[in-house]
């Protein structure tokens, strides 16, 4: 077969090979909209049902605004940057704690995944752990306390990697994680994770 014949045959495949069905645009959009923009805007009929929730949130927000100010009024005047940093760290212990715990767990999972798969060992429970971590990743990404752009970028990449791990088929033999390995290498995920983890641990009050 010469070049021209091959080109003709390949061109013919345009209409015959893996011709996609009609894409489910509406169904895909629902998923995209929920993930990219948050919950869709509710129609008016929902307004009444959401009023109590809105009132609760408003009240919570108000308390959240007032209480820290009351607390701050009793704290001593900040004299140095170091003192300011200490106070800031003290105000975010919950987020730092959750983030540190998450980073430790995800590091353990990825190290385990790459090591064990290279040895050809079975990876029991990996998918479940990854699914759990994926949910935490998305919660952290949505958290208002996340201000560090490096952490946000890292979480973005981890979301992608964890989503791939979740999709690993359930098999008795060790999965071929070559492409996941590649993604980890290309994005320097593990070194960045370790740096972020070290920084978080040393910044804990």
């Amino acid at each position: 077969m010469d070049e021209k014949e091959l080109e003709e045959q390949l061109a013919h495949l345009r209409d015959t090979w893996r011709v996609s069905p009609e894409p489910p645009l509406a169904e895909m959009w629902q998923n995209i909209e929920a993930r990219a923009f948050g919950p869709p805007v509710r129609p008016r009929s929902w307004t009444r049902a959401l009023l109590p929730l809105a009132a609760t949130l408003f009240l919570g927000f108000g308390i959240g605004q007032v209480v820290p100010n009351l607390l701050r009024s009793t704290t001593p005047v900040v004299k140095t940057d170091e003192e300011a940093a200490q106070i800031q760290r003290a105000e975010q212990p919950a987020f730092v704690g959750v983030a540190t715990n998450y980073l430790e767990r995800v590091t353990a999972l990825l190290v385990n995944l790459t090591d064990e798969s290279r040895k050809g060992h079975t990876l029991e429970g990996t998918t479940e752990r990854a699914r759990d971590l994926l949910a935490t990743t998305r919660l952290l990404l949505d958290s208002p306390d996340i201000s560090d752009p490096h952490l946000r970028d890292l979480l973005d990449d981890l979301e992608l990697v964890l989503a791939q791990i979740v999709r690993l088929p359930r098999r008795d033999d060790a999965p071929d994680v070559y492409l996941i390995d590649q993604a980890l290498d290309q994005r320097d995920v593990l070194p960045r994770l370790r740096v972020m983890l070290a920084e978080n641990l040393t910044s804990e009050p």
Binding site: L6, L10, Q164, D176, L179
Partner: protein, 177 residues
Amino acid sequence: MNDLELIAGARAGDRMAAHRLYERHAPRVYRLLYRTVGDEEMAREYTQDTFVRVFQRLDQFRGEAAFTTWLHSVAMSMLFTGLRKVKRLRSRERELTAAESHPAKTSLGDPHLRDRLRSELERLPVRLRVPVVMHDIEGFTHREIAETLGIPEGTSKARLAEGRSRLREALAGIGRD
């Protein structure tokens, strides 16, 4: 409205603009992904992942390349990251094809030729198959392929040539019988 206007609208929080942008480009993204993976569920999943990523990072689109190029490069990134699953699926498909197919005398007029070609195309490694699919089947230019895959234009041409060469080798002898 053109793409840039819709992008500006979407950036400003106009969900209708985002939806129009999606409706305009999703079919082609879906089609390309479907061609590459050959699986409806995966094509849908990768299309969704692509648009979620695009809308989340719309601020990073600087307009230096066409929006479609950027969009397709995100789609390819999603695809390559998820290809492990596809690799396994293709492997199963090949096993099925091998089990079902019979050695056949083929020629250009032979109906088995295209089956063989499809089979050989699916056998190509992804780095070669994608340029062949994009160029010879989907009609992308080398420049578009290069920008989409983040490779030099010459590499796109070289990979296409290598892909075609492997197909020709695999189909060598067909038509001589």
